[in-house]
Amino acid sequence: MTHKILNGDEALAFGGLSSGIKLVTSYPGSPSSGTVETLIDLAEKHDIYVEWSSNEKVAMEMGIGASYVLDLRIGNSLMFLATTILKSFVCSSWGSFIRCPEKSSQSFC
C-alpha cells in the first residue's frame, strides 16, 4: 500500500478524481486555487476537462450544464465544482447539481 501526504487542497482534488469527476471550472483565489492547480497536473492522465473561467458565475453555470449530461443519458458524469466567492471563500459543491429539476429536464429533453 502506497502512502502519499496531501494537503487539504490536494486531498480535495484526489477525492474529486476518485468520485469520477469530468469537469472542473473555477475562478482563481485562495484557498481553492491549489485544488484546481493539482487537477490541472492530473487532467491529461485522468481525461478530465479543467479551465480557469473568467468568473464564478460562468464557472458554476458550466458545472450546471455538465451536470445535465446525466439527465440526457449521454454519459455517466459527475460534476465537481470548486469556485471562489468574493476572493477568499471556498464553496465546493460535490455533485449537488447531478440532477436538474424535473420540469426543466423534461423541457431540456
Binding site: Y27, S30, S33, A43, V50, W52, N55, L86, K87, F89
Partner: protein, 262 residues
C-alpha cells in the same frame, strides 16, 4: 455534552454563521451563536489578528493571548514584498495619479478591487469585491460627491465582471475615470490565466482578448493605453488630461514584464 455558546470567526460575509444558526434552529439546539451578525466581529474591513484576539477575549473571559496584537501594530507586522511583488509598480501608478490630481487641485475618491491592489490598499478610499470597482465608483458618483470617482482594477477583474458595469456606466452617462492595471495574469492568486492572455489553464496557446478593443466596443469614447516603460514620461500627463475632462475614460496601464504567461 453540547456547547452553550459558539463563536464563528470568518472572513467576508457571515455565511457560515448564518448556516450554523439555521442548523441549530432545525435541530432544536439552544446554543447562542456569536459572530458578525451580532457585531462580535466587524463586518467591514479586513479580519486582522487584533480583532480575532478581541473577539476571543470578549467570548472567553479567562483567555490570555500569548502575544498581544494591536490595531496600530498590524500594518507594521505585514510581510515585506518578495518574489514577483518586488517588481510591482502599482504604487508608482497611484503616486502619479495623486500628483496629477494635486496639480489640478483635486482629491479624487479612489475605489479599488481585491487582488494586487492590496499592495496599495492604504491609498484607496474603498474596496469591495473582484469586478466591483466600476459599479461602486459609479454609485458614489451618482449621489453627488464633489470629487471625481476613480475605479482602479486589474486585468483579471476586467474580464471577471467589470465589463457589464462598464456597459452600464456608458449607457447611464457616467463620468468616472477607470484605470486598468494590466499585468496579464491573475497575479495575486498565482499567475492563473484569464481571457486576456495567450495561454489557457492547461498551458496551451489560446486567443487573447484585447481590453482596449472591448472597452471601445462597450462604448467608452476615451480609451488610453500607457506602457510600463512610459510611466515617468506619459502616465502623469494622461491622468491629468483624464481628470481635467469629466467624461467617462478608461486608462490601461500595461505591465507585460511581470507576467509569466506571455
Amino acid at each position: 455534552m453540547s456547547c452553550q455558546e459558539v463563536l464563528v470567526v470568518e472572513e467576508i460575509e457571515p455565511y457560515v454563521e448564518g448556516h450554523v444558526k439555521a442548523i441549530a434552529h432545525d435541530i432544536g439546539c439552544t446554543a447562542k451563536i456569536f459572530g458578525k451578525q451580532n457585531k462580535h466581529l466587524s463586518r467591514e474591513g479586513e479580519l486582522f489578528r487584533w480583532q480575532i484576539q478581541g473577539a476571543l477575549k470578549e467570548f472567553i473571559p479567562e483567555f490570555v493571548p500569548k502575544r498581544d496584537f494591536t490595531k496600530d501594530k498590524e500594518a507594521k507586522e505585514r510581510p515585506k514584498k518578495k518574489d514577483f511583488c518586488v517588481d510591482c509598480q502599482y504604487d508608482i501608478v497611484l503616486d502619479k495619479l495623486e500628483e496629477a490630481a494635486e496639480s489640478l487641485g483635486q482629491k479624487p475618491v479612489l475605489v479599488g478591487d481585491p487582488g494586487c491592489l492590496v499592495t496599495v490598499a492604504d491609498k484607496l478610499d474603498a474596496k469591495y469585491a473582484i469586478g466591483s470597482a466600476v459599479g461602486v465608483a459609479d454609485g458614489l458618483s451618482k449621489v453627488g460627491i464633489d470629487e471625481r470617482a476613480v475605479a482602479i482594477f486589474g486585468d483579471s477583474a476586467f474580464f471577471h465582471t467589470s465589463i457589464p458595469a462598464i456597459c452600464n456606466a456608458v449607457h447611464n452617462r457616467s463620468n468616472i475615470l477607470m484605470v486598468v492595471l494590466d499585468n496579464k495574469a491573475s497575479t495575486t492568486s498565482g499567475f492563473q490565466p484569464h481571457p486576456g492572455v495567450v495561454r489557457d489553464a492547461m498551458g496551451r496557446g489560446a486567443p487573447a482578448l484585447d481590453i482596449a478593443q472591448i472597452a471601445h466596443a462597450c462604448g467608452v469614447q476615451n480609451v488610453h493605453t500607457v506602457e510600463q516603460d512610459d510611466l515617468d514620461s506619459t502616465l502623469k500627463e494622461t491622468f491629468r488630461k483624464a481628470l481635467s475632462h469629466p467624461e467617462l475614460t478608461l486608462i490601461i496601464v500595461r505591465f507585460p514584464l511581470i507576467s509569466r504567461l506571455e
